[in-house]
């Protein structure tokens, strides 16, 4: 045992002696009350205070609970015919408990009063209690209080009626202070974050009990003879008072309960978590639904979420937006960052993070791989888009340059043919030249169209696909459920899927017809090319289908080829429209 524990044990022994001694005095002097309940009330607070001191050293709640538990027994000891003791019993023993209890409740669980309002309320309650105590010390008359034989001198201005007036008056004024106290608690509830509210569950229960005790106080009387009903309430108060330390200790230990949730976390992590589940597990363990888990990329000052998407750490917000960032490190390098409710116990957060260490490292690696994959995908998309831009540029140059010049040349040649009064040999040469030129223009046109179809940029995907169908060597039915324009990379990828697939159908499928279906659903473009040919297309072999799969993947799409011998071929690409 540590020296500190020895001290606590000594304190406990002394406290128990004080309480049981007080109770013994009460019994010996024939005080009529339920001695068991009376003793239990004090012992419960003493035990709670000792446990709190042990678990939360430096927290004032433990000492306050012990003080509350012990002070009440001044009243019991007051039954001894010893000077001053009875006076202390009816003053301090009777009245010092309330402000201590209010301070415990409002400073729970940290032991500090948070707001000025809280401090003012606690201060007022202390002031009221001290006033009562001072007045009692001045006017108390043991004879009128039913102890004419008491062996000590009365207060400076003994007056039985003044004593009664003051105590009952202050008891009633106490109701106003109780309401003020409840207001302070209500403010605290309003301002608490969800995680805090959960942590303070025991407080809300305790406060209701305290309020009940003190509201009942206005009707209670310790004397069973004067008013049996008031006495019953007095006993009820005592019973409720026993429950308070139990509630407080449960509350203080609930941090320990949460630590055992860390144990559950360890068990949970023993099973392999699906990727991205770690954040949910930590959120459950720490009871903070707003908790986020970000991962540090190795050697880079960047953070990503479990899906590998870049995120940034939040700045310090205010009020409900306030966030706390706890960085989990390994060997001095940041591993992950927990972004959570500032109300969470830092020790608990660190414990949970430490327990999840391996899982965090594991998931960080996952996130890093995903981030790298995303980078590769983005760079592939950039490469494809750069290629497409280049194709459009080449097509434009051909159109404005070579094609235009050849058309002009054809015109000039026609003029020469019309005008020339040349002999038949020259005319035949000119005719042949015209035919050759015509051929060149046609070939150049097909070449340019293959590089980039003008109609795709001019009129969009359905028009361009219809144009492909028009020029296909077999009948192709086009079904499109939209006519709107889509982002250029999407249109281009979809166009090449159709164009390459139809070329394959014409070359290999021995099909009698094909169908192209374009549909849009939930932000996804679906492109399907079906034929009734011999099937057997192999996406793994030949660069055509493989190239299409790459192209579709570059715009985050999926690509599939279904084929069976004799059952035709179906090419299906699904591309997100916002790619």
């Amino acid at each position: 045992m540590t020296p500190r524990r020895w001290w606590l044990a000594a304190l406990a022994v002394a406290g128990v002696a004080w309480i049981l001694g007080g109770e013994w005095v009460s019994i010996h002097h024939g005080v009529r009350e339920n001695h068991l309940i009376d003793a239990l009330g004090g012992l419960a607070f003493l035990a709670g205070g000792i446990i709190a001191l042990d678990r939360r050293p430096g927290n004032t709640i433990g000492p306050l609970m012990i003080a509350f538990g012990l002070i009440g027994y001044l009243g019991n000891w007051g039954n001894l015919n010893v000077p001053v003791l009875p006076l202390l019993g009816v003053s301090i023993g009777q009245w010092a408990g309330a402000p201590i209890l209010a301070q415990i409740a409002l400073s729970y669980p940290t032991g500090r009063l948070r707001t000025t309002f809280d401090r003012v309320v606690v201060g007022l309650i202390y002031a009221a209690a001290i006033s009562v105590i001072v007045v009692i010390l001045l006017v108390f008359d043991p004879r009128s209080a039913g102890c004419p034989a008491c062996a000590w001198e009365p207060a400076p201005f003994p007056s039985g009626s003044a004593f009664l007036a003051v105590t009952s008056g202050f008891q009633r004024a106490g109701a106003a202070l109780v309401l003020l106290f409840l207001l302070a608690v209500w403010r605290r509830f309003r301002r608490a974050t969800p995680a805090e509210r959960w942590d303070l569950a025991s407080l809300w229960v305790a406060v209701c009990v305290i309020a009940l005790i003190y509201l009942l106080g206005a009707f209670a009387s310790p004397s069973p003879l004067a008013d049996p009903f008031a006495y019953l309430i007095w006993e009820l108060q005592s019973l409720l008072q026993i429950s308070l330390p139990v509630i407080f200790v449960w509350g203080l230990l609930s941090a320990r309960l949460a630590r055992s949730a860390v144990g559950d976390l360890v068990v949970e992590l023993g099973r392999s978590l699906p990727p991205g589940e770690l954040q949910a597990s930590l959120s459950r363990t720490l009871r903070d639904p707003s908790l986020e888990l970000l991962y540090a990329l190795e050697g880079q000052e960047r953070w990503v979420n479990a899906r590998g998407q870049p995120e940034s750490l939040p700045g310090p917000g205010a009020g409900h937006q306030a966030r706390t960032v706890t960085v989990v490190e390994r060997d001095g390098r940041p591993l992950a960052a927990l972004i959570h409710d500032p109300a969470l116990d830092q020790g608990l957060v660190r414990a949970a993070a430490a327990a999840a260490g391996m899982a965090i490292e594991n998931e960080r690696l996952h996130a890093e791989v995903r981030a790298q994959l995303e980078e590769v995908r983005a760079s592939r998309q950039r490469i494809v888009e750069a290629g497409d831009r280049e194709r459009r540029r080449v097509e434009r140059n051909l159109h404005d340059g070579a094609q235009q010049r050849l058309a002009t040349l054809a015109l000039s040649l026609a003029m020469i043919r019309d005008r020339a009064g040349a002999g038949p040999a020259v005319a035949a040469s000119l005719a042949q030249a015209s035919a050759e030129l015509r051929q060149a223009i046609d070939e150049l046109r097909e070449l340019a169209r293959g590089i980039h179809p003008a109609i795709l940029s001019e009129e969009g995907l359905p028009a361009a696909v219809e144009s492909l169908a028009d020029r296909s060597s077999l009948p192709v039915r086009v079904v499109a459920d939209f006519d709107a324009r889509l982002p250029e990379p999407v249109e281009t990828a979809a166009y090449f899927v159709v164009s390459e697939s139809l070329a394959n159908v014409a070359k290999y499928a021995r099909a009698s017809r094909a169908q192209v279906e374009l549909s849009r659903c939930n932000g996804t473009l679906r492109v399907e090319v079906r034929d009734d040919g011999i099937g057997g297309a192999d996406p793994g072999r030949g660069s055509g289908l493989l190239g299409l799969a790459d192209r579709v993947a570059a715009v985050r799409g999926s690509f599939r080829v279904d084929t069976s011998p004799g059952g035709g071929t179906r090419v299906l690409a699904e591309i997100p429209c916002d790619a």
Binding site: A407, T408, A410, L411, D418, R445, A448, E458, L474, V476
Partner: protein, 235 residues
Amino acid sequence: MPEPPPVPGPVPAAGPAPPAIRVVLADDSVLFREGLARVLAESGFLVVGQAGDAEALHAVVGQAEPDVVVTDIRMPPTNSNDGLLAAQRIRAEHPGVGVLVLSQYVETRQAIKLLQHAPQRVGYLLKDRVSDIAEFAETLRRIARGGSAIDPDVVAQLLRHQGEDSALGELTGRERDILALIAEGRSNHAICERLFLSPKTVETHVGSIFAKLGLLPAADDHRRVLAVLMYIRSA
């Protein structure tokens, strides 16, 4: 061999020669524009204006009061389908002005769009068709008279895959040839000349085609182009 002067439809028995057809040309290539202007002038047209982009074209059409406009489809400012849009606007704003759209590529969809917007006084041809000067001049005259012209490639593309399942399959070879010429925008008279048939034979064939396809016999040559194209496309 010099072409004989083209016969513009049924000519009135007597009277002064019809005034030359006024043409405006639009193309962003000056070289091509100048060449075409020279060819058209030599073929008896009056080139009354030229433009290098769609905006300038609208201005020139407003001033020069042409009978017909020949425009490239791809012109500044957007180098997309400006010519097509300009054609539609001219047809809407100047109903008496015909428009012939030239393009390096012909697309069925564009042809039908153009005809749907204004079924007469429009043409849609591959750009290099201009090198067949006589044919081109004839097409231009046809448009100026109120007819229409669709590139044979468009029609051929449309007809290529049609026929097995539809009423088109019931047409005879000769009827299919005539159907293609109708779709290109040619009149019965022009079909007679091209296929060396008598007017009566052509009329019989046309009647038979329309009956087989279940189309109403079109009163004028202009409106039957769209009807036939739409029919083939949906077959």
